[in-house]
Symmetry: D2
């Protein structure tokens, strides 16, 4: 039986360690992990791989021990990693490869540790190294690359991104416009490996990589996992639309204290995220409203993300009313099952012979590539249709 090899970019981060430890624990306790859409009735009869088929590996740029990182991230003692020797052993056995930091932005370089990054002077050599790692890691099995690294600094698309030819030229010329996420995606596609971009960074959503994915017939999906405040937004906005209540302002504030939050505290990186969050409302409501999205790093929050949104709206004869919500989510635990769902569904798409951007997976993303629909229910319907069509 074929394995499904999962290669994380940022494997020591909160999402991947939670996912891996959570999957190991579920297997250990012989029960479903919970929170998987792909475990619902809709997917009965689909040829989905499952957690016992998974094998993990990945890239990282930080020196911290993967086990220790998993332990720290379990701040709420949900997985109780500390007292589970078997889990420790399995976590410690996971292969970790040196990652790329070139052009990722200062905050990314700041968290990198000496000896844990690929510091070759030639970009082409880095890419070759990533490809060779992937080739070996994959072997004869199925494989998927999943980007769960920290958000890269915001960068406009540019010439280098406009075609595969220019992209490859950029690699040869060590262009400052090619980011780590893009180089990984390029390497994956060249090795016929699907790619999931769970981050807000611009990775495979550029013409050059569209072209490559089509050419190599590899599926990919992205971007920016819809886990918290935005998730709530994309159902609540429907309410105002269906009732024709005018949203005068939508103010949202997010507090988080994990590494993601620390990186986002740098305004260059935050822009990537906030851009991704803002488009959503306009698309759901059908008009631009006065909106503000705050993301603040507060160390004590750790992985426990708190969001508070204040929505001011008018109805009949201009009557002013408000709705507020507070979201107390655990970031990595919200993200992990989405990543599992994505892995299973991108793998399914590949088995079905599909390639290029997988639009039916928009339900998982804040900025679904190539899709203008942000309403969660509508996005679910797109997935449902895809599942049922075959």
């Amino acid at each position: 039986m074929k394995k499904l090899k999962i290669c994380f970019i940022g494997i020591k981060g909160g999402i991947s360690t939670t996912l891996i430890a959570g999957i190991f624990k579920s297997i250990q306790e012989n029960r479903r992990p919970g929170g998987l859409l792909t475990d619902t009735a809709l997917f009965h009869g689909c040829d989905l791989c499952d957690m016992t088929d998974f094998e993990f590996g990945g890239f990282d740029i930080r020196g911290i021990d993967l086990y220790k990182s998993a332990l720290e991230n379990d701040q709420n003692n949900i997985l109780n990693i500390r007292y589970n020797e078997e889990l420790r052993e399995r976590l410690e056995a996971i292969p970790v490869y040196k990652g790329i930091i070139t052009n990722g932005g200062k905050t990314i370089s700041d968290i990198a540790d000496e000896g844990f990054t690929d510091d070759r002077p030639q970009m082409a050599d880095m890419v070759d190294e990533v490809r060779s790692v992937l080739r070996e890691f994959k072997g004869d099995d199925d494989c998927i690359v999943v980007n769960v690294a920290s958000t890269e600094r915001f960068m406009k698309t540019n010439k280098c991104h406009s075609s595969l030819e220019r992209f490859e030229q950029g690699i040869r010329e060590n262009s400052s416009e090619l980011t780590p996420g893009q180089l990984y995606a390029y390497a994956a596609f060249m090795e016929n490996i699907p790619y999931i971009n769970f981050t807000p960074s611009i990775c495979c959503d550029i013409p050059a990589l569209f072209e490559l994915a089509e050419k190599r017939k590899v599926p990919f999906a992205g971007k920016d996992g819809k886990t918290g405040e935005t998730l709530v937004k994309t159902v609540l906005a429907d309410l105002f639309f269906v009732r024709n209540l005018k949203v005068n302002m939508w103010y949202g504030t997010n507090i988080l204290g994990n590494l993601d939050g620390k990186i986002l505290d740098d305004s260059m990186h935050k822009s990537s995220k906030i851009e991704s969050k803002k488009n959503v409302l306009k698309s759901c409501l059908g008009y631009e409203t006065d909106t503000q999205v705050r993301i603040d790093y507060m160390k004590h929050s750790g992985d426990n993300k708190v969001a508070w949104d204040y929505i001011h709206f008018s109805g009949f004869c201009g009557a002013n009313m408000t709705l507020t919500f507070s979201w107390f989510g655990i970031d990595s635990f919200l993200a992990a099952p989405l990543v599992v769902d994505l892995i299973r569904l991108v793998n399914l798409a590949q088995k079905r012979g599909e390639y290029g951007i997988q639009k039916q997976l928009s339900v998982f993303f804040k900025s679904p590539v190539g899709v203008q629909v942000h309403s969660l229910v509508r996005q679910y319907d797109m997935l449902k249709e895809w599942v049922e069509q075959k």
Copy 2:
């Protein structure tokens, strides 16, 4: 040009006075009232009547002056009725007829004033009187009866409700099982007038009146306008469904201080409402969750309804998380545009030759008669399909 005569049951209440004053004011200021779904692009090209075609009248059991009631209800000075002489004149010109209180429950009798109810000893005479009022009020125009009266005490469906024959026998025998709302519906149907039940009371949702509506080819719609907390519920529940997050408990509390709230403070009447609210979750989530719905009368709230909901849910590996929301709505101003939408759409249905229960209008109701779908977006889709089919 034909008028559209609108006959309210409970015309002195918050919803109807807000609706009427709001429509008059919008006409006066020559602008759209706002908050109407039927004013959105979806309905372009539909043969909808409009506010300038409306003429109002109705039944009530309270002695309070209609104008004064409208004034009191405008506690937030949204309509600024106090300083609008023209509005006063138009409100004072509205015809009000004596209403029925028989079998409505003690709390209903308690708010009735002497001389303002139809106190004939024979039920058959009351029905005849209502029919004769409706006949005259309607004249050669279109007409719709809209029930916006206070919630009647909860009553199980019974023998009298099981067929038209038994219902009419019940009338002749002054049965204690026939409620005011049902008698009005019967009278309306006999006069070929459509009926909208905006209250949680059991009115036309009984076999006897289904039979009559079919026989007389009259459309009707109900029940229990979805204006506040439940509205939010029916979009948020989709989130938990689509993410396969397990809702462990959903606690909701509602504070209100209008007449509706006062009536609901009587537990017999509250049951009608809470039953109506509880079904919603099970339908949206697909399973029963531990749920509690509180409705508390607090005089100072007046028409300003505050709801707070606390939702506790689990995700990946049993991680516990919560979502809370607070809703600060103005009850009558949320209800009024829904009633206008319903009036226009039931009238449209009648013009299209449709009759019986109008299932496509479920988007407006907490307990849509004959429909199991509670998801707001799904309900909207049903309406959309109906609008577009012709």
Copy 3:
């Protein structure tokens, strides 16, 4: 060195097991437990006993194993009892005695298990047994009885309570008006042991027991620990008082899912609690406001108590404004350090030769016996003055 023997009524409950396990763990880890007022600078120089002097024992009526109860109560894995073998041994070594249920109310009887209650037919025999247990438990050490049992059903004070003589007559006649909490208090006083009533039940706050405490020169304190919603109320109310903002309504709802909550779900028992909560506002504001206090049992909450309060107030020219707060507290962990503080301070009072009701401890109680001050800050000042006076 003398020990301080602490005898809990309801030793298998959430507060006592959290307190005991928490103290053991703090000793084990050689650090302060945290959350103790008596650990602040104010008490430097006071002759306070400390946790290493504590020895625990107590009464209970439930069959559940004390260790297992402690484990279950640690639902948030704060103490991580499961993996701590030493803690288990210490918890299992604690002596538990059969408790009294007579006249406690039906819900109390319902949670009692066969073989774990004192079922002697004569009340006098029960009291003798309690006294004899206490005498032996105490030995030559200091001792304090702490009532942390479930709330008894609400009972008005009556003749039996009016004097020591009548009380003792009541015992002899097996009066149905003497409750478990009162019998324990009587027994404690007779053995010269101080008594802390942390529950809302009427225990030592009756003339008969006042008389006895004076006679035997024993100090006591109560009642109803101020741990959550009420705690917040008694500081916020000061705001409205100092700003002369008129509170029009104060609505509060409490969700809890522990045994306390289950007992309170019985309305006879809830009355005790709600009475205790309502007085507070009037005292702080100086006038009666429209107030409502809800307590709802929701199993999934467990020990995690959630309170939401909605306060509507008016200011300059009648401007209406609101304040809401949400409290997410862990009940037993809020109560435990207060009980430790109370134990240390009642013991200190006894050493200082004081007896009768200890009014300076009002800062810990929702219904401080003999004190009309509810403002937290004012109550703190009373304690401060007492500490500093000697």
Copy 4:
């Protein structure tokens, strides 16, 4: 009978127009304005001036009509100015003088209109003009200058501020370090007129003006009215102190849409305010906590300020808990009665022969000059003591 002339700096702003219109309306309707601390029992017997003694005038830099500004500011129709002809006349009769903008910061200059500012090139001439206006306005009556202008840009205290001599030298040399608020204060003191600084700007809280106030024997009070989020903070912080609960983080966000908010959106001006807000917590808790204060301008909010605070704290054995509150206040209506109280009490102080900084008025301020106490209750006690001492 002597009048009390009140001279506002920023008389066309929200606070002063609300105060003036509210006072006129209260006189008109012959009732107390409400929300005045000086109307409570504590002040019975004090020789306080009252609203019928007030006469208003003031400086401004904006061209907008005072009446129109009052109208716009009454967005919630609380004063119903629109329909009150008498009110209009009284508002239009109020004298408005050209204000100073020199050194106030760019955002201040931006809101100034041509022809409405004192644009003399010499600072000394401006000061003379202000003095002459004040002299004439005062006549033989009592007089108080109240600064309710927009927040000036943040400026460190500097050499010019260090003594009266240097200050006067600064005036002569047109120093860029002397701000409008300081020049007004100087002018007022020179005319023996008390000064209240209700803004966060640095005005009379500098050595130079302390010196002058002492020399001229004039009382003054400041600074930064404690009206909203900070008000709540300074009572809640007491809770954590009294319970010895460790505050790990306190995150607060403020949404407002009035002119104050617009000015604060400029980060140079916001610093003044946030500095003022941050000190409070440290003083109340006794230690530095991780804190963040956000102020965001959202146009639709207008004068309706919304604040949301999230407080994360630990208790017994490190148990983590949270408290959140939401404040829905109407800014000007919260500030106006405080200003009235301050006017009455500063006037009283003057009558009592007191001068210099009036520390007993700290209860009204976020940054009480010369006082380290921020606890609202403690501050109230200071005022109480002052009132009762004579």
